[in-house]
Symmetry: C3
Subunit: 137 residues, 3 copies
């Protein structure tokens, strides 16, 4: 059993890929990798990493489903004093994963051909995010 | 490896925090905690536990995204004989976590500073919910 | 520790139950089962398996939240060259689980009475999907 923490700097809303960084950390054994994001306004996500348009569209869609809290449609929200991106960030984080578990074979995550591993930032400004990692094998 | 079941009484729609109860159960070792909710109209959730307004807003937003099935916008639903809160409960449960995995360091979950652990009830009436817990370490 | 891959043929949009197939594979011990779907336009889901109307309604609701990309409401999407069901498939996959962890007792998953285990196909055509499985116990 091995544990570490990955530190990920995000530049604002959108996806930051961490596949390579996580892959390099894994020992060359069979096992199970668990990742856990220690924040309430960002998410982990596994999604297509081939065409960057997919990431653009995921952000565009989520930004429309949960717009900034100054949007009139969200006039009922009460937790608004931390800025118009804060409560929408919590809502987006409610909908996307905070933890992920991935089987590992001889040190290689069993990701599908098109799958990459991302931190999805929901706040407007850059943030330092921590991903706790646990490998058992 | 240790397993238990947490029994959680919910008072109707909204979040019931279980962070302390789960924390007390953990042995003082490194390991991996997995929680699994044994129901299809409630969820597990990790979210901010500092300001209760966040929980109010999460419920308010989800209740608008998936209103009771008597809402005209949901007139196409077919599974309505268990009450107007039943099928929306399943839909909400589809969107939020049923299982969570959290790395543990010397008996302490590696939750971020603002993260709490909740059962999110989607039905109108109080329910007895079971959370199966697995600790490996 | 044991690993395998389940191969699941999907007939197009909707849920394919895999509860029995997974249950048969488990060794008769206590442990932890982790499932991981190796695709970016399908999902894993635990939901009610008693009344098939629930599955019909889950698909109907999700299809309205994220319609085909030819829908005028999605005119801003850029990743459309793989067909009108492709980018919506990625969006739906963003919202539903890609991995699930379930405690196991004497070889039996601790599913609730109404819970079944499904692969949720988001693409229009039939697909061959792979679910990587890891059992630790």
């Amino acid at each position: 059993m091995t544990q570490t923490t990955f530190h990920v700097r995000t530049p604002g809303p959108g996806l930051v890929e961490i596949t390579e960084e996580v892959a390099r950390w894994l020992p060359p054994r069979d096992g199970l990798l668990t990742l856990f994001l220690r924040h309430t306004s960002a998410s982990l996500l596994i999604q297509e990493n081939a065409d960057p348009e997919v990431q653009t569209d995921l952000l565009a869609w989520l930004s429309r489903l949960v717009p900034p809290s100054i949007d009139p449609s969200l006039g009922y929200l009460t937790h608004t004093y931390e800025g118009p991106d804060d409560m929408p960030g919590h809502i987006r984080a409610m909908l996307l994963p905070v933890s992920l578990s991935i089987p590992v074979e001889r040190g290689r995550m069993l990701l599908g051909r098109w799958q990459g591993l991302f931190v999805f930032e929901h706040r407007d400004r850059p943030h330092d995010r921590e991903v706790a990692a646990h490998f058992l094998g």
